[in-house]
Each structure stands twice: as structure tokens, then as C-alpha cells.
Amino acid sequence: MSEILVKNGFVYDPINGINGEVLDIAVKDGKIVDPSQIDLSKALVVDARGKVVMPGGIDIHSHIAGPKVNLGRLMRPEDHYLTNRPHDLPRRRAETGLTVPNVFRIGYDYARMGYTLVVEPATPPIGTRHTHEELDDIPVIDKAAFVLVDSNWLALDLIAEGSRELLAAYLAWLLSATKTYALKLVDPGSDVAWVITGRGVDLDEQIPVYNITPRDIIREIGSAAQMLNLPHKLHVHCNRLGYPGNYLTTLRPWR
């Protein structure tokens, strides 16, 4: 169906200052058009009387796919015992899981809530093919992913030796090779510190072997993102992740 007319809904469109007016919204070939351009004999007409019509929701941070999500599914069989909805084929596959739903429920539930784009915000490069496999199997919604570079040994080497352009080139290659949309830092430097010394690091602590600080990682990867003119610059979970009161750590790099 290339023509759709959604009639009589309460329309909310903050960008255009429309705040709950009753309007008709027309879609032709994937674009919103003036309702006069719609051929009513061919169009799908939806009566949205009493309902809200709004732009699709965008969730830029929801862990919906990849190795960690699937490990969660493996570890929580009890999450699938009482949360099932049988399939209604061919329209709907079976749904299961509440805290870690299967791919079908993730897509259907987001669509039911009015979302059209959801972003998986942390995928390790080596596992990103897996992330894409799950994203591919999530129905209905659009998806994207951010690639993790917070303890990437190659990136840390380049930061430590001050090779700014090479760092930007490497990150550009990584984004392209993993088909991801933005760079993500989670507790920068702590993963590498953990595998070497068994503990994470705070914002201004030295990272063993590399002799740089998490603050250096945030600054340098942020500059590289700026150099690459990425649309979504940098997605950061600051250090001391998971410690109560860590909002203070999160505020520090802003100063």
C-alpha cells in the first residue's frame, strides 16, 4: 500500500507546534503529504478518532540485541515460563520473555508503544555480527547500534602514542566494518584495567600498561568523533559504573 490516510486523530507534532489538534495525516510513498494528494479509491484509510497520532518514538538507548542480551536469555529460563503469547500465524510469531524478551516480542512491543526506531547502545566489535543478526530478526521497527571503544586495545595504543589522525581513521574503519552508527564508551579504561589488575579505574586514575587516564580516552575519542563529524558524537557511561553515588563521577568530565 503506497497511500495511507489517518483520519480524525489528535495529532501531536512538537517540531511543527501541533499540540493535540484533530487533523488528517496522509502518507504517500513513504512520505507525509497534503491529504489532497491522496487517491481515496486506492488509499488505506484508518479512522483514528479518539486516538493519538504522533511521530514514531525514538529510543536511542535500549539493550535489545547482541551477545549480552542472548546470555541474559540463556541465564533466565524462568523469564519465559509465564510470559508467553502463542503465535498468530502468519501475522505474528510467538512471543516470550519479560525482562529479556525474544526478538519478536521486542519488535512488537516497541511498535505497540509507538516506537519506530530503537538503538542498541553497546556492541563489542567482535560480537557485532551477532548483534546485527538479532537486530535483523526484530520485526517492525528500525534499528541501529553503537560500537564499544572504551577499552579497545588498538584505540588505547593510538591515544597513548598521540596519533590523533590514525585514531580517527581507525574509528572510522571500525564504524564502517561493524556497520554501527556511533561510538560508545562504557566505564572507559576499566575493562582493560580489570583484565590486567582485577579492578576498574576512576576518571583520573592511570590505566595500567597504557599510562593514560579515562579522561584522556573520553577527550581523545570525542575529538576523533568531532574530526569525523559523526552525527551522534559520543555516547558515554562514565567511570565507577554501578557504584551508588556515581553521578558525581559522571558530572566531573563536564567541567
Binding site: 533466565r76 529460563p77 510467538a94 520473555g97 529479556v100 524478551p101 526478538v103 530478526d137 590486567i196
Partner: protein, 562 residues
């Protein structure tokens, strides 16, 4: 040897017979029983006459019979509600005999095979143009080596550099002993048909069944797995993979206590202690030691900075290369793991001997583990299949959790089939469960010991079976295989497996990783893209394409929109 004979020729060959139809016994037992060249091995499940081979490494009172249909005449279908049949530690009687050796035909007839015809052919080769393909991924074991260099003459693989002996056997013989045409069974014999007719018959079988079993899937790509799961969902059947009798117990343990995992990269670059428990990579995963143990990493300068420990029920070739070998009494790993957990916490171990291991050795290993900077435990079916089964893995994971209070430790299961990990992963994101998933009620449900393949077959619960790239007749206990003789069976495979003797429909499939692209998951959960090196034989489709067409046909028959 088993791997090479399977990949080189087929299970119908004398090589396979020579590789699996024998009983290894201690020379002392052989002379005490006055055995000459053969032995009668029997228990309540069956009887086989096997060639006897002396092997001083086998403890007295034990018989080793390799996995295969001969061993399975004796194995116990009872899975103790774990889905894992008792394939090791089975009680048997042995006695001298003059009766003829049990042949493959004898075994298949005893199991109720529907036909013994094999129309194996070689895929047509066209030589002339020589080329080299680099960075080829090996679709054999869970190591998924991705550094192979293949030299081809036309579509014949003439040289495999970087691959192990099994990998070479697979690539150099990929074209041999193939299923080249579809067949259906009519009036007791196999009749060659076109693909449409075979797919129609297969779809009819699935649609007219109340509870079909879709099984195998570890030797094909993730794309094929997704269609297989969809088929189970459409037909309200069950989908299960060979995980169920390899590392299924590992998944059950993770469900109970979580896990601590890492990738090969971490093992190579950081591990200064590598433990192989119940696994013998030098024979089953031949490149594993060179790739991980010997390799120089960023923080570990190769083997000289890396201690290797082997814990196994017998002294394997891998054990011969270890810095410390601990011989555990078969089936008693759980006790040893418990003692190790005690030693790690400095608790007193009262017994001087635990599971056949002197207390001092237990303490020595615990000390090594605590002192390691980064330890990785690679564990195999020697741990998942025996004794306490999944409880062994629960104990191992708890040990590793506790060691992480001292240092850093993780586990990697030594997965056998090249994409058994991918089968688990695809099943998890689609159904929430790793394997043994029933759609009887229109939604996924895993009830281990009930919805697992051996249990379903042994108790006669399924009324048809679709076997994809797997050979349950060579792997499952007798009582489970006998049910395949009673129900309609569809087989999709590249070579003539023993299960084709029980098939009503046989559909050829091309090899993923040789003739088809696809994704497979390495044993450390890392997905690797398999390459297409040559075209499939004429008229032969990739498994994913065969299954996709089957999904369309089943949908059309169920009137839910093709």
C-alpha cells in the same frame, strides 16, 4: 581417526568400521579373559561382537568403544531428565566369543533400518583453472579456524594449508560420497525424484504430523537454523540440536548459576594458565593448542609463560604435553571439583585420595589456580557427559566464580560441531531457550528430559522427524534410534549418513562454508562468516534454501500465506 574417516569417505566405508567398531581393553583383562581377536560386549540394551584392541592406558575393568552405532547398541537412553543419554560409564558384560563380528548391516538391521541402499556419487569436478583462496573458514569443529589457504584446481580442492588433518580430509574430499539427487521411499525402496516432489512429500509429512521433531542443525549455518525453528513453530513441533548430547548440560548449568566467559583473544593474550578438563584437543580440535596455547599474546609470551593442566579420565595425547596431568576416576569429576573448591578456600580435605587423585595434587592444582594471573578452563564432553553431568558444570562454574575472588578466571566449552554454538544462539534469540524447544502450545517451551530429542524418541512421543545435517543413528542410544524406524523421516544432508537408512525422503544439501556462504559461531560465541569456495553440485541447494522452500510449502498447506 573417526573424524578423518567420516570426512574423508563416509560412515558406510570400511575406514569408518575400522575407526569405530572395536573395543579397547587393558592387556591384563584381555589375557585374563583369554580373548583372541574379538570380544562379545553385552548388557540389557544389546549385544555386539567387536574386534578387541589392547591399550595399556585403559584401566582394568573398563572397555572403551568409540562413539558410533556399535557403542550405541549398549548405551542407556535414560537421560536422568537432563536430555543427555548415558553415553559413557555404561555397565557391560564382556566375554570371549567365536561368533562373527557385528557388521554395520547387522547393526542397522537390528535397529530396524528401512533400507540399506546408498546411491552415493561424487560431485562433478571440472579442473583446469588453478586459484588460491585465502582466509578460508573451516566448517568442521567449534574452533572455526579462519586462516586456511586453499589451493584449487577448478572446483577440486588440492591443498589445504593451515587446516588440521580433519580439515584437510573435509576439504579435499568434499565432493566425494555425496547425496546428489532427492529420493523418496516407495514400496520399500528409494526412488529418485525431482526436488519439488521431494519437498512436497517432506511438507506433507510435517503438516500431517501431530508432533514432528526437527533435529540436527549444528553442522549447518545460522540461516538454516532460523528456518528450522520457524518450521517447528508452524507445525507445533519440537526443534532440538545436537547440543542436547554435547554441551547441553553446560547450558543447564548456566541457567542455574550463571557463567564467566571470555573469547579466544583473551585466552591468547592474557592466560598464563590453561586447563583442559575432559577434553582432548590434540585429537578432537587439532589446531586448538597451536592457536591458543602455543601462541604468543600481548601479555603472555607463548607456551613458556603459560602453564597447561589436563584433567581427564585417561592419559590422552594432550595430557602428554601438559605441565600437570591429573587422572580422575571416570565419572567422579564432581568430587574432584568439590575438593578443589575446598582447597581454594583453604579448607581441610580429610580423605587422602579424592576421585582417585592424591590430596597433595588437589592442593597443588588449587595453588596453581589461585596464583595464576588469568586462567581459562576449556572443558569437553568428558565433563558434560559423565557422572553428575550438568552438576559437574555447576561445580566448575562455582569454582571459577570463587577463583575470581582471587584472580581472573573464565570457561570456554570445547564445542564439537562447527556451528553447534550458533544453533544455541539462534534458538535463544528466537525462543528464549538454547535447544530442545517445543511449540506444542504455539509458544516455545523447553522442558529438559521431556522436549529433548533422545527422550522424545526413546519414549515414542514424536510422530515424524526432519533431520538436518546430522546423524542421530550414529549418535543416539538404540531405543531412541528404533523409533526412527517407526515414523516417517526426512533427511537433509550433504553426505549419506547412517540416518539415510531410516529416511522416507532424502534431500541433498550443499556444504555451508564450502559451497554456501553463511554464519557460524565459534565455541567462544564469536560469529564468523563462512565463505563460499566452489559452486554446489548441479541442482543441489544450500540447507537454508531447502528449508526456506519447505517453510513456504508448509505455510501454503496450512493456509497461512506463503
Amino acid at each position: 581417526m573417526q573424524g578423518i574417516s567420516m570426512e574423508g569417505e563416509s560412515k558406510w566405508s570400511t575406514k569408518y568400521f575400522d575407526a569405530v567398531a572395536f573395543a579397547e581393553m587393558n592387556p591384563g583383562d584381555i589375557s585374563a579373559l583369554r580373548l583372541r581377536d574379538r570380544v562379545k560386549v553385552h548388557n540389557e540394551h544389546g549385544t555386539v561382537i567387536l574386534r578387541v584392541k589392547p591399550n595399556a592406558k585403559i584401566p582394568r575393568g573398563q572397555v572403551f568403544v568409540p562413539m558410533g552405532p556399535w557403542a550405541n547398541m549398549l548405551t542407556d537412553p535414560n537421560t536422568d531428565a537432563t536430555g543427555m543419554p548415558r553415553l559413557k560409564g555404561v555397565k557391560v558384560f564382556v566375554e570371549p566369543t567365536d561368533e562373527p563380528l557385528t557388521t554395520l548391516t547387522d547393526v542397522l538391521k537390528l535397529l530396524g533400518a528401512k533400507n540399506l541402499e546408498v546411491y552415493a556419487g561424487d560431485a562433478p569436478l571440472k579442473t583446469g583453472v588453478r586459484r588460491v583462496v585465502e582466509n578460508v573458514v573451516c566448517p568442521f569443529c567449534g574452533d572455526l579456524c579462519d586462516h586456511l589457504v586453499l589451493e584449487l584446481d577448478g572446483n577440486k580442492v588440492v591443498r589445504n594449508t593451515g587446516g588440521c588433518a580433519i580439515s584437510s580430509a573435509k576439504f579435499l574430499n568434499y565432493h566425494k560420497h555425496r547425496i546428489l539427487k532427492p529420493y523418496i521411499r516407495e514400496q520399500g525402496g528409494l526412488v529418485e525424484v525431482n526436488l519439488d516432489k521431494a519437498l512436497d512429500k517432506a511438507a506433507d509429512i510435517l503438516v500431517s504430523s501431530k508432533y514432528p521433531l526437527i533435529f540436527g542443525l549444528s553442522n549447518t549455518d545460522v540461516e538454516a537454523n532460523k528456518y528450522a525453528i520457524e518450521l517447528a513453530e508452524l507445525t507445533h513441533g519440537v526443534v532440538d540440536s545436537t547440543s542436547v548430547f554435547c554441551h547441553g548440560p553446560t547450558a543447564l548449568a548456566v541457567q542455574e548459576v550463571g557463567t564467566a566467559r571470555c573469547t579466544f583473544g583473551v585466552a591468547i593474550n592474557l592466560a598464563d594458565l590453561v586447563v583442559f578438563w575432559g577434553s582432548n584437543p590434540l585429537e578432537a580440535h587439532p589446531n586448538h593448542v597451536a592457536r591458543i596455547v602455543l601462541r604468543e599474546g600481548r601479555f603472555v609470551k607463548g607456551r613458556k609463560e603459560r602453564m597447561v593442566v589436563v584433567v581427564d579420565a585417561r592419559r590422552t595425547p594432550t595430557a602428554d604435553q601438559a605441565d600437570l596431568f591429573i587422572e580422575v576416576e571416570p565419572g567422579r569429576d564432581y568430587e574432584l571439583l568439590t575438593a578443589l573448591r575446598m582447597a581454594v578456600r583453604d579448607l581441610d580435605i580429610e580423605a587422602p585420595l579424592v576421585a582417585g587423585v592424591p590430596r597433595d595434587k588437589v592442593i597443588e592444582l588449587a595453588e596453581m589456580m589461585r596464583a595464576a594471573r588469568y586462567g581459562v578452563v576449556f572443558f569437553g564432553v568428558g565433563l558434560t557427559m559423565t557422572g553428575a553431568k550438568y552438576r559437574n558444570i555447576v561445580a566448575l562454574i562455582k569454582l571459577v566464580h570463587e577463583l575470581n575472588e582471587w584472580t581472573k578466571f573464565c570457561i570456554i566449552p570445547m564445542r564439537g560441531h562447527y556451528n553447534v554454538t550458533g544453533a544455541d544462539q539462534a534458538s535463544l534469540w528466537t525462543t528464549g531457550y538454547p535447544y530442545a524447544v517445543s511449540y506444542a502450545r504455539g509458544f516455545p517451551k523447553m522442558i529438559i528430559g521431556v522436549t529433548s530429542a533422545t527422550d522424545l524418541l526413546a519414549s515414542g512421543d514424536v510422530d515424524s522427524a526432519l533431520i538436518v545435517a546430522s546423524d542421530p543413528v550414529a549418535h543416539l542410544p538404540r531405543r531412541a534410534v528404533e523409533h526412527l524406524a517407526k515414523i516417517p523421516v526426512v533427511v537433509i544432508d550433504a553426505k549419506w549418513s547412517l540416518t539415510t537408512a531410516f529416511a522416507d525422503v532424502i534431500i541433498p544439501g550443499a556444504y555451508a562454508g564450502i559451497e554456501c556462504e553463511g554464519t557460524a559461531y565459534r565455541m567462544d560465541d564469536v560469529p564468523i562468516r563462512l565463505k563460499k569456495i566452489v559452486d554446489p553440485p548441479p541442482g543441489v541447494l544450500c540447507d537454508s534454501e531447502v528449508l526456506g522452500r519447505l517453510v513456504d510449502r508448509v505455510k501454503a498447506r496450512m493456509r497461512c500465506g506463503a
